[in-house]
């Protein structure tokens, strides 16, 4: 009964979305207040129905209702409750439903908190949002109905893919989707602005908090996915340039550019049409991210099962959304008036450089990811891997990071570059010092050593800019504290995010350059030494878990005879699908991870053991957290508070004139 109610709720959500997509749009065009106002209740109603459908599916999972095909295929009565719940979105149909729910949450949030948006703008934004929902709801209902029944029902379910039975991956998809879908708001605002024919500072101030929120979620989602791959796959790597990773990274790059260009629109009334384009591209890449891999166009290690009928629907959806919005952009963007003037060396100039490099970097990732498809149309099969991205993406990011330390020092309109460079001399010294220390401690190739210096340069630049603002050590400490409290929160946020980026870079460079890997056969009692730590295999035992059997090794780690830790890497077999998984054991110190994983026994009493020494890997997660936190702090800035800004002038009829 409940699954049918869920399906019915989903159909009602579609009906409501159709109303929300048409009435307010017509109302806004004709200046009909009641029609425009209808966007608010419909957005909330749409959320209610979508949520009801989602809860119905979750109920089927929690109660292990195997009469529902989706549950039978992806769940099992022996699974722990957390994974029964997360299995709701651990499959294609359920994850589409989650998309729809999050989309409705964002729509309802605009409806509820957008009280002081001009009514016409709010009506249009919510209408565009509804059209996106219509696309997803029809996709869900016609090609991926999660509530389909099966008769006779199986005695037990087929189990969730064991790799997904993990706390990291339970929360990774919702986070990622909050990011992807969050950009839909920026997109809807952009389309609404194109229809209205006006973009102004107030518009940018409405768009920025939504973009920032989406960016925080996406940063968290990507970091969580990377962390999962690191500890779950047992390969000791945190990024593989796999298509699935790349498609989540591209909206992040574009979203980061959008975040920065929106500042220029807000403060200087310039870069308007570029910002609109970025908003469209960011969301388009999010759509591609959701779909391209799933449709089976690109081979990837972790895509859900594919189906050609879905592929066509997806392609149509992408063409309509992306093509349609770009055509609208081409027609309407020239009508947007250009804003304030500025010199090349200025805050505006710096942000343009940021945008230029981020977009170009994103383009190389896009080409690399899509290349196998291009190659195939020319009749040969090729893959593009990490070497390609290292060769193209990194050289573009390097000047960006170098300039990133300078950017916050630049002032609007024009800046004296010499003065800025003067203020950064300590950062430069710190970078040189860091390079020298790295070279002394870890001999290595020149480029990574310099890259460590670059990370320090960025970190020092961020800290110097922040302490300059609060006049740290230049006045009494009490005065500095007062200044720090008085400083806008977005300034604290920016410093934290930029410093976080520096920490991430240091972690990435160090771990990819100075990682030590050892694979060997060990018998109980054997000892080996990796990067100064001694590993002793004590025993391997067979342990029974709720829905798996595990071979658990016990390895004691010592350094110079002193005990460091005891590690218990596992090799599990999930009995329902008879699928083996590797559970790595990780011991984290401030400077490195000690990472062990076990493979198969060699049949003669020995066990394959894989030991990694992973320098600075924890810094990647710490830095990502700093970036996210920086975003959240900025978001709490009074000036960025959702709905705070007001338009100075009443809306003009610019659209009619254009």
């Amino acid at each position: 009964m409940i699954p049918e109610i869920g399906l019915f709720a989903l159909i009602l959500a579609l009906a409501v979305a159709l109303v929300q997509g048409t009435l307010p749009m017509i109302g806004a065009a004709r200046g009909h207040d009641a029609w425009m106002a209808s966007a608010v209740p419909t957005a909330i109603l749409q959320l209610a129905f979508a949520l009801a459908a989602f809860l119905a599916l979750m109920h089927a999972y929690v109660t292990s209702d195997f009469t529902v095909v989706n549950v039978a295929l992806n769940s099992n009565s022996a699974m722990p409750m957390l994974y029964k719940i997360s299995a709701t979105w651990g499959n294609h149909e359920g994850s589409m439903l989650l998309w729809v729910v999050i989309l409705a949450v964002f729509g309802a949030a605009v409806a509820l908190f957008g009280g002081n948006l001009p009514p016409a703008l709010r009506a249009r934004v919510l209408s565009v949002q509804a059209w996106i929902a219509i696309g997803f709801l029809t996709f869900s209902l016609f090609t991926s109905n999660p509530f389909e029944r099966v008769f006779p029902p199986p005695l037990d379910g087929n189990d969730l893919n064991p790799l997904l039975q993990d706390p990291g991956l339970a929360f990774h998809p919702p986070m990622l989707y909050m990011g992807y879908v969050g950009f839909s708001i920026a997109f809807s605002f952009a389309i609404a602005a194109l229809i209205e024919g006006r973009v102004d500072a107030a518009w940018a101030r409405w768009v920025r908090p939504w973009t920032l929120a989406a960016w925080c979620f996406l940063t968290g989602g990507i970091a969580l996915g990377s962390w999962w791959a690191y500890y779950e796959l047992g390969w000791g790597g945190w990024w593989f340039w796999d298509p699935v990773e790349n498609v989540s990274f591209m909206p992040w790059l574009m979203g980061t550019a959008l975040l920065h260009s929106a500042i220029v629109v807000e403060k200087r009334d310039a870069l308007k049409s570029w910002t609109i384009l970025l908003a469209i591209l960011t969301f388009s890449l999010s759509l591609i991210g959701t779909f391209v891999v799933r449709s089976g166009l690109l081979t990837s290690v972790h895509a859900f099962a594919t189906d050609p009928e879905r592929g066509l629907f997806i392609l149509a959806l992408l063409v309509v959304t992306i093509g349609g919005s770009l055509i609208l952009y081409a027609v309407r963007a020239p009508a947007l008036k250009a804003g304030g003037l500025f010199a090349p060396v200025s805050r505006e100039g710096g942000l343009i450089l940021n945008n230029l490099l981020l977009s170009v970097a994103c383009a190389t990732v896009f080409l690399g990811t899509m290349y196998p498809l291009i190659a195939e149309t020319f009749g040969y099969k090729a893959t593009v891997g990490a070497p390609f991205f290292n060769l193209t993406f990194l050289p573009i990011m390097t000047p960006l990071v170098a300039a990133m330390a300078l950017g916050p020092f630049l002032s609007w309109k024009r800046t004296d570059l010499a003065g800025v460079v003067g203020r950064l001399k300590f950062a430069f010294l710190a970078a040189i010092l860091a390079t020298a220390i790295t070279l002394y401690m870890q001999q290595g190739p020149v480029i990574p050593v310099l890259a460590m210096g670059l990370a320090v340069w960025l970190f020092a630049g961020a800290v110097i800019e922040w302490s300059g603002r609060i006049k740290l050590f230049q006045t009494a400490p009490g005065d500095s504290l007062r200044r720090a409290i008085g400083l806008p929160r977005s300034a604290h946020g920016m410093t934290l995010a930029h410093a976080g980026m520096a920490v991430v870079i240091a972690g990435m460079v160090a771990s990819s350059t100075w990682k030590v890997e050892e694979i060997l056969i060990m018998r109980p009692g054997d000892t080996t030494s990796v990067a100064g730590y001694d590993y002793r295999l004590e025993k391997v035992e067979r342990i029974k878990g709720p829905n798996y059997i595990s071979d658990t090794a016990t390895i004691t780690v010592t350094r110079d005879g002193k005990a460091v830790t005891e590690q218990k890497p596992e090799k599990r077999i999930y009995t329902v699908q008879n699928t083996p998984t590797t559970e790595a054991a990780i011991y984290t110190t401030a400077l490195a991870d000690l990472y062990t994983a076990i493979g198969d026994p060699d049949g003669k009493g020995g066990q394959t053991v894989r030991i990694f020494f992973e320098p600075l890997v924890p810094w990647i997660w710490i830095g990502s957290l700093m970036m996210m936190l920086g975003g959240v702090i900025s978001l709490s800035d009074r000036r960025l508070r959702v709905g705070a800004p007001r338009r100075k002038r009443p809306p003009t009829l610019a659209a009619a004139q254009a």
Binding site: N161, L163, A305, L356, G368, P387, L520, T579, D600, T608
Partner: protein, 149 residues
């Protein structure tokens, strides 16, 4: 600076960045792209000499053997017409099994043995890498109804 000149500067900067990126991408592709070959193509001498490539197919039944050191694995990859011997030192992916589709990346030795640096198997046991499915279709082993689910 006038609006027009500023726009010119922006366009020029954009074009410079873009053309630098295109040059990088083309160079990158030329240097690093990895091609995929099936065992039949390898026997026909299709892969260029001295360059790493990907070899994919099914792991031949009964071909997986461990060498004395316990770490090096020997197996054959087949498209049911031709099979190529492969050696790999390291831990095989969890889902590596006989009769299952795999993709390996490495170099072809002078003795005709493929030395793999990387072995990829999918995280899903019903999965067949698309390249492998295509290769099997060509050798006439694969029927579409098997691959649809």
């Amino acid at each position: 600076m006038t609006r027009k000149r500023r726009r010119m500067v922006l366009v020029l900067a954009g074009l410079t960045a873009l053309s630098a990126a295109v040059a990088l991408v083309l160079y990158g592709l030329k240097e690093t792209v990895t091609f995929f070959y099936s065992p039949s193509e390898v026997q026909a001498g299709a892969p260029p000499q001295g360059r790493a490539f990907r070899l994919g197919g099914l792991v031949e039944e009964g071909s997986v053997k461990k060498q004395g050191d316990g770490l090096t694995v020997e197996f054959s990859i087949t498209d049911m017409a031709v099979s190529v011997p492969v050696t790999y030192r390291g831990i095989l992916p969890d889902l590596f099994r006989e009769g299952q589709g795999v993709i390996t990346e490495g170099d072809l030795g002078t003795d005709g043995t493929f030395v793999a640096r990387e072995v990829l198997a999918k995280h899903d046991e019903t999965y067949m890498p698309r390249e492998v499915a295509d290769a099997l279709k060509e050798s006439g082993v694969w029927r579409d109804e098997e691959g649809s689910k």
